[in-house]
Structures are given as structure tokens and as C-alpha cells.
């Protein structure tokens, strides 16, 4: 949370996160160039530029795979949620690695020619009508442009400027970008190489991304969409203290019904910052705290405590025959709603 923009709001956890990422990239590249490549069974080693473009290209692929696994892993097991915290830095570093790969490609395969490099990149191979020999570079260019756009708009300034829903939709472009990377590798290096080792690792990585997303989707799908003007949620004592019960509303959105001791309040499940799942957060010092980046909202009005200005929609609640019911219609963001007072719930 911030009431002003700074380039990066550093804290010890971010330093640690980035240090691990840089250690990963350094280990990958150094081992590829200095241990793996010399161990390859070759008559003469491949050109240095080609080895480096392979090192950075495969590194970017594995990093992107890891990034896309974080989301579903966090939904399947909350212990992975801290990996989401600084995922934007993960994305930016991946984009830098991918740009390095493309720089080696441009300055090797598409250099030394009277044709300008970018023109050569797009015009040297135009066999778009065939699968074998398809210009797989086009998929790489698309993925690189997407990664660059996502890295450039990863800052909170763009999040606020574009609004979280638009920003989130824009950043969902990472999925077409990943699909393009898969096509780039399948139609290029994978059709070329004779050794099956990389194909097996590549396939396992891509299937991991698909499998984890499917598993997370199936888990999410367990919640049914409710009907009616008032929707029963749970008995107060069935909601853990400082935690929430997530409800799928008739309009498809989700609400989070929190209990803070004897007080029970409800807000939208989508954090105003990055649409993070507020209902998977916790009430800390009277404020609902998002599990993704720690953004906080008051239980009684969905507003961030001053000087912060973020707001989320609230919901009316009522107690009917000992069961909490939530209104189907959300209130405008920041609308005060007196929390239900249920003293017996806090005795549990």
C-alpha cells in the first residue's frame, strides 16, 4: 500500500525474493555455458552466440513456466501465496532474460546481411503456409512484445491508471504469450533437435502449467453460484476468527464474509490493488488484509485506513435463524455497513 508512487517499495522480503531470482538466473546461465555445454558430445562446439541464445532462451522458458505455476499452486496450497507477492519482479527479470535471448538471435542469425535486421527477421522466411519450416520466429516476436508490455506496465502507476480490472485483463496476455513460446519452441528447436531430453523436459514443463491450472479450476469450481436476494452463508461460529467464508454470488462475482471476534462483515472478494482474493486473507488489527500484497480494508466500510485511499464494495448482512445471510447486490465501494454483532461466535 502506498499513498505515493516510488520506483520500487523495497522491503526485506522483496530483496530476498529478487536475490533468489537472480541466483536462479545466474546458476542457470553459468552452468549452461561452463558445465553443460562443454559436456555435450560434439565434434566441434556450437558457435558461442548460438549457445548463449539457447541458454537465455531456455532459461526464459523455464522462468515463465515457474511464473505461471505460482497462481494455481497458491490456490491449491496457501503456503505458496508468498511466491505471488513479488511475482511482478519475476516477470520483469524473465522479460530481461528473453530480450537477451532475442538480442543474440538478431545479432547472429539476422546480422552480417545487407537486409536490415528487423526486416530480415520478419521477411527472410515467409513459409506461413506450411507447418514444417513455419517461421517460428513470429511466435517469439509476439511473446517478446507481450512480455515487454507486461514488464513496462507492471508498476502500480499503470495499475491505477488502467484500473485493476483492465490491468488484470491486460496481464492475462501472459497466457497467449506462453502459448506462443510453446509454439516457438515446438516449431523451431524441438523439430530440429535429435536428442529427446529437451523435448521430454519441455513437455513436462508445459503440461505442469496446464495440469496445475486445471486442478485449481476444479477446486474453485466446487463452489456453486447462489440464487435469491439473500443468500445463506454459514453459522457465525462456522467461520474461523479473523478469517472469511467466500461466497459465489448470483452475478458470478465473489464476496468474502469475515469474522473478527464478534463482528461479522462482508466485502467484495477482489482486492482493489490487483484483484487478489481478499477472502483468503485475514483480519489484522481490525483490517481485512489481502494475502497477495498486504493491502488492508476496514471491515465496516471496505476503505483502506488513512492515508490510503483504496476502497472495495461492501455487502449488507443479516442473521436469519442463526445463519448469516448476505445481500445479493453489492454496495458501492466504501459504503459503510454496520457489522453484525454476534457475541456467541467469539466464544467458539
Amino acid at each position: 500500500m502506498s499513498d505515493r508512487y516510488v520506483p520500487v517499495q523495497w522491503n526485506p522480503n522483496k530483496w530476498l525474493y529478487d536475490a533468489v531470482l537472480i541466483a536462479c538466473v545466474a546458476a542457470y546461465i553459468l552452468i549452461y555455458l561452463n558445465l553443460g555445454n562443454p559436456a555435450a558430445d560434439v565434434t566441434r562446439p556450437a558457435d558461442g552466440a548460438i549457445v548463449r541464445m539457447r541458454a537465455f532462451g531456455t532459461c526464459a522458458f523455464f522462468m515463465l513456466t515457474a511464473i505461471l505455476c505460482i497462481g494455481p499452486l497458491a490456490r491449491l496450497d496457501r503456503r505458496f501465496l508468498p511466491l505471488l507477492y513479488n511475482r511482478r519482479h519475476f516477470g520483469v527479470i524473465t522479460a530481461v532474460v528473453a530480450v537477451t535471448h532475442s538480442t543474440y538471435v538478431l545479432n547472429w542469425y539476422f546480422a552480417f546481411s545487407p537486409t536490415p535486421r528487423l526486416e530480415a527477421l520478419l521477411g527472410a522466411n515467409t513459409s506461413y503456409g506450411q507447418l514444417l519450416g513455419f517461421p517460428f520466429e513470429a511466435f517469439g516476436v509476439f511473446a517478446l512484445i507481450v512480455l515487454a508490455i507486461l514488464a513496462a506496465t507492471s508498476h502500480d502507476f499503470w495499475l491505477n491508471f488502467l484500473t485493476p480490472p483492465v490491468w488484470k485483463r491486460l496481464h492475462l496476455m501472459i497466457y497467449p504469450a506462453y502459448a506462443a513460446v510453446v509454439a516457438h519452441v515446438v516449431l523451431g528447436y524441438l523439430q530440429d533437435t535429435k536428442n529427446p531430453a529437451f523435448a521430454l523436459v519441455f513437455g513436462a514443463a508445459a503440461l505442469s502449467v496446464a495440469g496445475l491450472h486445471l486442478a485449481a479450476h476444479l477446486k474453485d469450481g466446487a463452489a456453486r453460484r447462489a440464487k435469491g436476494a439473500w443468500i445463506p452463508v454459514a453459522r457465525p461460529q462456522d467461520i474461523s476468527d479473523s478469517r472469511a467464508r467466500i461466497v459465489k454470488m448470483p452475478d458470478g462475482r465473489r464476496a468474502a464474509v469475515f469474522r473478527d471476534g464478534a463482528r461479522i462483515g462482508a466485502v467484495s472478494n477482489a482486492c482493489a490493488h490487483q484483484n487478489g482474493p481478499l477472502g483468503e486473507g485475514r483480519v489484522i488489527d481490525g483490517c481485512i488484509t489481502c494475502p497477495w500484497h498486504g493491502f488492508q480494508y476496514r471491515l465496516e466500510d471496505g476503505c483502506s485506513p488513512p492515508p490510503f485511499t483504496e476502497k472495495v464494495p461492501t455487502y449488507d448482512l443479516r442473521l436469519q435463524d442463526g445463519v448469516i445471510e448476505i445481500a445479493a447486490e453489492a454496495n458501492a465501494p466504501g459504503t459503510p455497513v454496520t457489522p453484525l454483532d454476534v457475541p456467541e461466535a467469539s466464544d467458539v
Binding site: 522491503n11 546458476a27 558445465l35 548460438i50 508468498p82
Partner: protein
């Protein structure tokens, strides 16, 4: 009532991470394990991926070389060596320009003449290319030698051959690897720049597996083969020997993917 999305008992026990706060005790070992595991996993993947790269062959630049010989400009510049410290007489050199440029602009004026050439030798197996130095440093008229004339083409008949179309320079060793689908755009760029296309056959014919490609009239064929570079194809045409150089005069209409 609504379906619970998560288990309340586990929720109560689970440590809660907040980015700007200290990492909860219960998560430290887990996150430390993830961090170490990720570094180790990527290190392992790196080694595996790098150590299983394919052999790019033995082609390479082999240093400076000079030669005197008879220049044949079509379909692409070839030097039939008559005298050299680097090559045996009778060797056929595929001439190229610098980078992804053909030698045609330098060679055309000397077609059929005795010339002195100088440049960087590139070779892979039986195929030898010479990357000419610029201008007159690369190619110049040599004193006339009595009786020197271009070798007469020897017809080896009509063939249907399976193999891969490559750019002659990268395949010879200017790049390693210098063939294959990942290299296709680079090969096309070389061919567009005037580098001779060569056909690398799966089986030898008349003792060779390398053929310089030409059209049916013996002229350049580059524009007809660009879509088929780097894939395994079958082509029909007639094979000729021009001294030590095998030339495959193809019928582009017969080009198709090999079964």
C-alpha cells in the same frame, strides 16, 4: 448455505504471510526449501539441456587461403584451382562474399578467366568454400596459363534425390550448426544475399553427397527453393560434374517433402 471454499480448521492454524511484515515462523522453512529447490531445479535443467545439444558437425573457418584457378560464374561462382599452397589442383571452391553476401558481383566480370583469389577458407568434409576478401584483394586477374580452360561438364544422368537444401556457406562451417529448421531463416537470408544453395543428400551419388543447386538451364535457382530450405525434400533433376563440383540441375516443380 454457500459451499465453503476452504477448510476453517486448517485456516485457523495456517501461518499468514504479509509481504511488508516479517515472514511467519511456520513458513520460513517451507519458503527456504522452495528457494533452494528452485535454484537446484534450474541448475539441473540447465545442465541437462546444455549437455544434450546435438552435434553441429565439424565445419569451421580454417584460416586464410590463396589460390589461382579458373572461375566459373554460373550457377554460382566456383573456382577450379590450378595452383595453390592451400588446395590441391582440381579442387573446386565455392566462392562467397563477406557475411551473408554472394560473390557474384565480384566474380561476374571474370567468368571463364584465370583469376587469383584470396580469403578465408571454410570447410566441412568434402565441401570447401572461400569467403573472398573485399574488392581486388579478394579476386583479381591472374597471368594467362597456356591450355587452362574450364572443365567440361560430365552428365551423370537424371536423378530423384532425397536430402536437405542448405545455404552453402553456413553449412560449410560459417555457422555451427549451419543447417536445420532452427537455422532456416538465417539460411534463407544467406540465399537471398547470393550465397549458393547446396543440396545435402542422404545418399552419395558418384562419391559425393554435396551438390550445388542450379535450375534446369544451369542458372541460379534461389527463388524457387526458399520455401523448402532446411526440410527433408525429394527433388528430380540432372546431375553434372563440373570438375570436382557436383551440380544438381533441378526441376523446381518436382520439389516435395520427403516421405
Amino acid at each position: 448455505m454457500s459451499d465453503p471454499v476452504s477448510d476453517p480448521v486448517r485456516e485457523r492454524e495456517a501461518p499468514f504471510f504479509i509481504g511488508w511484515a516479517t515472514i511467519p515462523e511456520g513458513l520460513r522453512w517451507f519458503l527456504g526449501g522452495i528457494a533452494i529447490g528452485l535454484v537446484v531445479l534450474l541448475a539441473g535443467l540447465s545442465y541437462l539441456t546444455a549437455a544434450t545439444q546435438d552435434d553441429p558437425g565439424d565445419g569451421a573457418f580454417m584460416g586464410r587461403a590463396d589460390a589461382v584457378g579458373l572461375l566459373q560464374a554460373a550457377p554460382y561462382p566456383i573456382l577450379h584451382v590450378t595452383q595453390s599452397d592451400s588446395f590441391a589442383p582440381g579442387t573446386a571452391l565455392m566462392l562467397t562474399g563477406n557475411g551473408k553476401r554472394g560473390a557474384q558481383p565480384q566474380a561476374d566480370a571474370f567468368d571463364g578467366q584465370l583469376v587469383a583469389v584470396s580469403g578465408a577458407r571454410i570447410s566441412r568434409g568434402d565441401i570447401i568454400a572461400l569467403q573472398l576478401r573485399g574488392g581486388e584483394n579478394g579476386i583479381s586477374a591472374a597471368p594467362e596459363q597456356t591450355g587452362a580452360s574450364l572443365p567440361q561438364p560430365r552428365d551423370l544422368g537424371r536423378w530423384r534425390i532425397t536430402g536437405e537444401i542448405c545455404d552453402g556457406k553456413c553449412y560449410s562451417g560459417a555457422m555451427r550448426p549451419g543447417r536445420g529448421l532452427a537455422h532456416k531463416a538465417c539460411a534463407n537470408l544467406c540465399l537471398i544475399g547470393g550465397i549458393p544453395p547446396v543440396f545435402v543428400a542422404t545418399d552419395k551419388i558418384d562419391g559425393t553427397e554435396f551438390f550445388m543447386l542450379a535450375d534446369q538451364d544451369g542458372g541460379p535457382v534461389t527463388e524457387h527453393v526458399l520455401n523448402h530450405v532446411a526440410t527433408l525434400v525429394e527433388i528430380e533433376g540432372s546431375v553434372e560434374r563440373h570438375g570436382a563440383m557436383a551440380v544438381f540441375r533441378i526441376d523446381p516443380a518436382t520439389l516435395r517433402l520427403a516421405q
